[in-house]
């Protein structure tokens, strides 16, 4: 099998996984947040809601399914980056539109059944010991980050040790046959370039890990103890998963680094597929996490505690969720919130810090980019 065919196969697999992730989203979100709309526990078993969901899945399978198939076929016929990019953007627009139509129907359903809900309490529940309970931790220990740090240090030491023995010109580009057709002069910048990338990635993953702990608490007044435990396990697993993915990515980069430093001879074909396979693996990992745990731990089996349906008076914050997708609440100091319809967490776009964070993220990408140039070519 040629390189082109294999890379095309990987891209098609990527698109199919995206299709599946969007397909299962209604199954992995919190039950009380139906298509981005907060529904009372007493109405959750209404058959009309089930109808909405079934219609959505039918529409998604036929419309998005047909689109995804034709997209893949076009891509195989005309494999270009612009086709791929446009195709993916259109896929997101189409699937979001299908979601939004159902979201609107659920909103109308809620409005029609709201009459008896006037003047009810608007409760937000929190737990004062959620984050400092030593026996039931919210996140795995920070000490786990010693493993990525050790990996980075080993890479740095390896670069330092072999520097003198490396040839003056290092191969950095290969043609399809695996023959060297490009190289750069050996510099300290080049030798330490990949460890610097590893440091950036670890910093980013550490931030994500912290965000999982910081993000806004979300406890149901109907069954607080059970809801709290779901929340905790949900965060713990994602925290552990972030550390796991961090280590995996660093190991993949280490493989590349060992090759560049000519410490271990590796088949160039193997190296070329490390990155796309890694991306596929990360997507599958996210899919697995979503199905295994669910948003807010909704798919966990937790021993049900005492629950009180009549106490269903959670704050109705629908008006801060634009389209049920984007949280915009300038009065809420929280920056990170659990997504209503999706996987993991999102930002509070009503908070100025959200934009600072986006600018910082883009800025650090530029920083890495200019650092790359500086290290490789000077």
């Amino acid at each position: 099998m040629s390189y082109e065919m294999l890379s095309l196969a990987i891209i098609v697999l990527f698109i199919l996984i995206l299709f599946v992730i969007k397909l299962i989203t209604p199954q992995i979100v919190r039950r009380e947040l139906f298509f981005g709309v907060r529904i009372r526990a007493s109405q959750l078993n209404d058959e009309r809601l089930l109808d909405f969901k079934n219609t959505y899945i039918k529409n998604y399978l036929s419309i998005c399914g047909f689109y995804t198939l034709s997209f893949c076929i076009v891509l195989i016929k005309i494999p270009s980056n612009s086709v791929l990019l446009t195709g993916i953007v259109v896929f997101f627009l189409l699937s979001t539109l299908l979601y939004y139509l159902t979201h609107r129907r659920v909103m109308e359903f809620k409005k029609a059944n709201e009459a008896q809900m006037l003047n009810r309490k608007q409760i937000v529940m929190v737990d004062t010991s959620f984050r400092n309970d030593k026996s039931k931790r919210v996140l795995p220990s920070t000490l786990w980050f010693i493993i990525p740090i050790i990996i980075i240090c080993l890479n740095l030491v390896a670069g330092h040790l072999v520097y003198d023995e490396l040839p003056i010109i290092l191969p950095t580009h290969w043609n399809i046959q695996g023959e060297v057709d490009g190289g750069v002069f050996k510099t300290w910048g080049l030798v330490f370039f990949l460890p610097v990338v590893q440091i950036f990635i670890t910093g980013f993953m550490f931030l994500l890990y912290r965000v999982v702990g910081w993000s806004k608490l979300h406890i149901s007044p109907v069954n607080p103890a059970e809801s709290r435990e779901r929340n905790r396990v949900f965060r713990f697993r994602w925290g552990a998963n972030i550390i796991f993915l961090n280590i995996l990515i660093l190991l993949a980069i280490s493989l590349l680094n060992l090759f560049v430093l000519q410490i271990v001879p590796i088949n160039i074909g193997v190296l070329l597929f490390t990155q796309p396979l890694l991306i596929i693996f990360i997507l599958l990992d996210i899919l697995f996490m979503a199905i295994w745990t669910g948003q807010g731990g909704s798919r966990l089996f937790i021993q049900p505690g005492s629950s009180d349906i009549d106490n269903d008076s959670i704050l109705d914050d629908d008006k801060y969720w634009k389209g049920g997708l984007i949280y915009y609440n300038p009065r809420d100091p929280a920056l990170f919130v659990e997504k209503r319809f999706g996987i993991a967490w999102g930002l509070n776009y009503g908070n100025a810090k959200a934009y600072i964070l986006i600018i910082l993220a883009v800025g650090s990408l530029f920083l890495l980019d200019s650092l790359t140039e500086l290290m490789l070519f000077y």
């Binding site: 009810r120 309490k121 409760i123 529940m125 929190v126 004062t128 010991s129 100091p333």
Partner: protein
């Protein structure tokens, strides 16, 4: 301990926080030396202004229910340290309007005492003093 903040209530949120934390201490759900969340974290979890939480914590601190430790943040105080000389005077002031209400609504003295005893017992079950 769970706090349930009602955004629809006439009682201001900082008062709800204060009352529930004191009740938590009385029930033994918040123990001496236990940490409360930081002002920022609690404000984010509830989705309210930082000043609101700060106000509740300041009031609790003034009444010696909590201590503000520079390193550990807000910590529940010991029951012995909570007791103070003028607490009875202040209790009189705060309880008088409620008893007046009960009187006007036709409640008898023993009925009122029964109610008070019941509430008191619901707290003292969790705490040895």
């Amino acid at each position: 301990m769970f706090l349930a903040i009602d955004f629809q209530s006439d009682i201001p949120i900082y008062m709800q926080l204060k009352h529930q934390i004191i009740a938590g201490i009385a029930r033994g759900e918040l123990k001496e030396g236990e940490n409360l969340p930081s002002v920022r974290q609690l404000a984010q979890d509830i989705g309210i202004n930082l000043h609101t939480v700060n106000k509740a914590y300041t009031l609790l601190k003034e009444d010696k229910y909590i201590l503000m430790d520079r390193r550990k943040g807000a910590v529940i105080n010991s029951m012995e340290s909570m007791a103070d000389a003028d607490s009875v005077t202040r209790l009189r002031e705060e309880i008088a309007p409620l008893i007046a209400q009960a009187f006007c609504k036709g409640m008898k003295e023993d009925e009122l005492l029964l109610e008070i005893a019941e509430i008191y017992r619901s707290f003292s079950q969790g705490v040895q003093r």
